[in-house]
């Protein structure tokens, strides 16, 4: 069962807010392994988190 990119992005986002279940993690990893767009998306939302931290610290 393959995830669509839309589903994959939901899981990537939720992965930042809750612990994903085993099946979710496996499905996501399979998807990311073959999808550059979603892999880039994952890096970018992780970067957003970092950027927000920096923003919170800056004045």
């Amino acid at each position: 069962m393959m995830l669509s990119c839309k589903e994959a992005t939901h899981l990537v986002s939720q992965g930042l807010d809750r612990r994903l279940g085993l099946a979710e993690r496996v499905a996501l990893r399979l998807h990311l392994a073959i999808c550059d767009g979603c892999s880039n998306f994952k890096k970018q939302v992780a970067f957003l988190r970092k950027a927000m931290r920096r923003l919170a610290e800056s004045d």
Binding site: R18, S58, D59
Partner: protein, 179 residues
Amino acid sequence: MKDFRSLVEGERPYLLRYARLQLRDGHAAEDAVQETLLAALAGEAAFAGRSNLRTWLTGILKHKIIDALRRLAREAPLAEDEGELEALFDQRGHWRDAPGDWEDPDALLGRKQFLEALERCLAGLPQKSAQAFMMREHLGFETDDICKELGVTPTHCWVLLYRARMALRECLQQNWFAK
């Protein structure tokens, strides 16, 4: 040597900017800062011995912001924030325009211009998503607490955070990385 009152007053612009970013409501932000300054002046003794006034004031302000967010959450109607994001995917759920590589974005974190672009993108987020996102990423709340504060289910909470991330990513893509 400056007296405590003028030191506290001197932090007002910083606090106001902080509160505006969080609350996206000028009046609510000014109220929260005003309450913070009053609380600080009344609590001067509590500050004694602490080294950083700004950090102390920001700590007080965070509580005022949370109170204000609760009030806003009660007042703001929940329905909104849908639409345009759907257009990022086709009917089969594939990207219409898949995200490209952002090449070493960490180098941007020290750049004022980039942080300003990020702030502008934050200001453009839909209200509810923005509140959830700021609570999560700026104030560092756990998701459960955000749901409680905003009075929404966990599922809805994840959707709000998802929308905020999608919209921010898209905004930065268009206004920074594509340029």
